[in-house]
Amino acid sequence: MNKPRNARAAALIAGLTAGALVTAACGAGGPSASGGDFTDDKVVLALLNDASGVYKDVSGPNSKIAIQMAIDDYKEKYGDEAVVDDIEVTSADHQNEPDIANTKAQELYDREGADIILDVPTSSAALAVATQAKNKKKLYMNIGAGTTELTGAQCNKYTFHYAYDTWMLANGTGTVVTEEGDKNWQLIYPDYAFGQDMVKSFTGAIEAGGGKVGGTIATPFPNDNFATYITKAGAAKPQVIGTMHAGGDLINLVKQYNESGLKDQGISLAVGLMFISDIHSLGVEAFEGTIFTDAWYWNFDDKSREWADRYMEETGDRPTYAHAGNYSAALQYLEAVQAAGTDDADKVVEELEGKKVDDMFLRNGEIRAEDHRVIHDVYLARVKGPADVEEDWDYEEIIKTIPAEKAFRPAAESGCSM
């Protein structure tokens, strides 16, 4: 931690001479300080996520390893041709506190020389970081947060949204399940912004698929007692119960759904948001047969599996789609830097916008220029039964691929104007 000390010395000198303006200028740190095409002659990628709280397993510190893998791949691909040699990855733990995320984001941009911030789970934190990206004119690629606001009303030129969002989850699960024949739904959702968004998207998707939502049930958040809600939903005799819960609440709900006996009555459970780490920690038995939308699955094909093997060597675990998303985001950023020949944010954004991409994470991908939504194929998955699991982490059966152009909210509906 010698940067603050330098800054302090600079601030002291500045204080003795010209006063506040000097520090302010130092703090803001414009491009071109060293005269080259790269600030400080290097590129700094900053991972800002939850290294200690509930999203630790979903993304957490392992995403730093994923980003490092992207840097290595970039260096290997371009070798001497690389426009920049010095590429660093730094990280900070936002402890799931949006205000820490906000302060850290400023600090990463201003003091740590970060050219891009990656990840940032928790919607409120992600939206705050997006605002800082806009203010500081530096890049932010979101992977961990699901709010569509990032590519909607609160979109901006410097923010990109990777991997999943609430619209995509609801649409994927809702449309496909309905089209497959389960027309009659009951929805249980947590009564806060994420759940409320999801229920809207779900309803839209189900109705578009020719199904109907018999009823919606709002639950408090957080909550550990879902028995009553499940009973209520089951009483309406739907074909499928859709739930928008996540994390610990989802586990509670699934346990109590299994308890309720609805499964035996043929009422299945479809989930909006679920990570493979959830299944891993709780075991496939608990989730068997549950249907959900996945942005990426490590065992989908050779290409993804090859990467997952490399990742496993480094971490001992299989990656979630957030890990893969962080890798892809870092890689595509570096590709854009390579193409632009600079880390100047405006030029990099120009390179990114509208780019068609195909890497191990983004299949048929495109970085949409209109709203900065990064679209790609996503999958509808079913949790395997214990008998079908062939190895650790082999939990998902991909039922259907949802093509990129159908998987995400159309740009025209985003409400984004940059």
Binding site: S52, G53, V54, Y55, K56, D57, V58, D191, I217, A218, T219, P220, P222, N223, D224, N225, A227, T228, Y229, T231, K232, A235, G248, D249, I251, N252, K255, Q256, E259, S260, G261, S277, D278, H280, S281, L282, G283, E285, A286
Partner: protein, 290 residues
Amino acid sequence: MNAVLQYTVQGLAAGSFYALAALGLAVIFGVLGVVNFAHGAFYMLGAVAAAVLLDTVGMSLWLALIVVPVLMLVFGMLVERLLVRWLLPLDPLYNLLLTFGLTLLLVDLVKRRYGVSGLPYDRPDALDGRVQVAGIGLPVYQLFVIGVALLVCLGVWLLMTRTRVGMIVRAATERPELAGALGINVGRWVTPVFGFGVALAGLAGVLAAPFRAITAEMGSDFIIILFAVVVIGGLGSIVGAVVGGFLVGLVEAFGQAYAPTFAQVLIFVLMAVVVLARPAGLFGREEATA
């Protein structure tokens, strides 16, 4: 009618966790004058211990229902001896602060050791499925939880009324002035009572393990509800803790069924009403106004 019966069972099952834990809280408060903020963390430890024992040595729920509370008893006694004891002569708020700090520590330690995504837990087959009562299928496990909770509450009540130790504890809990007048030395019961209270929280945790997400955070919101329970029931009252626990469970279940938006707030509204009408709680002792 069917629905009402189902909601009642669900409410009582949820209330069982509250009642058991609140009972522990009440006993500890009675004898030590300490409000144990870490009670939610102890509930969590009970669940985590059950899950870990199942995973490592294959201990079944049946055995865990005995073993984990015993472990928690020992752990609780250690906590009392090493930490809580030193602050007993001081303002009880210091022990509230101490146990608050302890909560942060325990939650983080569990998180680091056992991760953040939760632990798996399978219940014995005997407790799977449903029984038909008046034409409705009621989950066996919920009935089992209610049964265990009622049995334990009854056991504690017998302990309190039929044994000498119990009388001492009860005198200290409900009539401190009497205990003082009778010259009962409560001091030597302080450590075991603290352990006993912790064991009750641990037992609630074991019962919750097959039913709820087992995560390091599972006690953080639980403790808030638990506080509401004892405020409603009356902190100094053993009966109040049990009745308050089941009452809050029922309010939660029926609130969720008929006014889902307000289900969570309803408990606090109930608490506000009780504070307003009977500041000492439904079964609390009247104190000289201070």
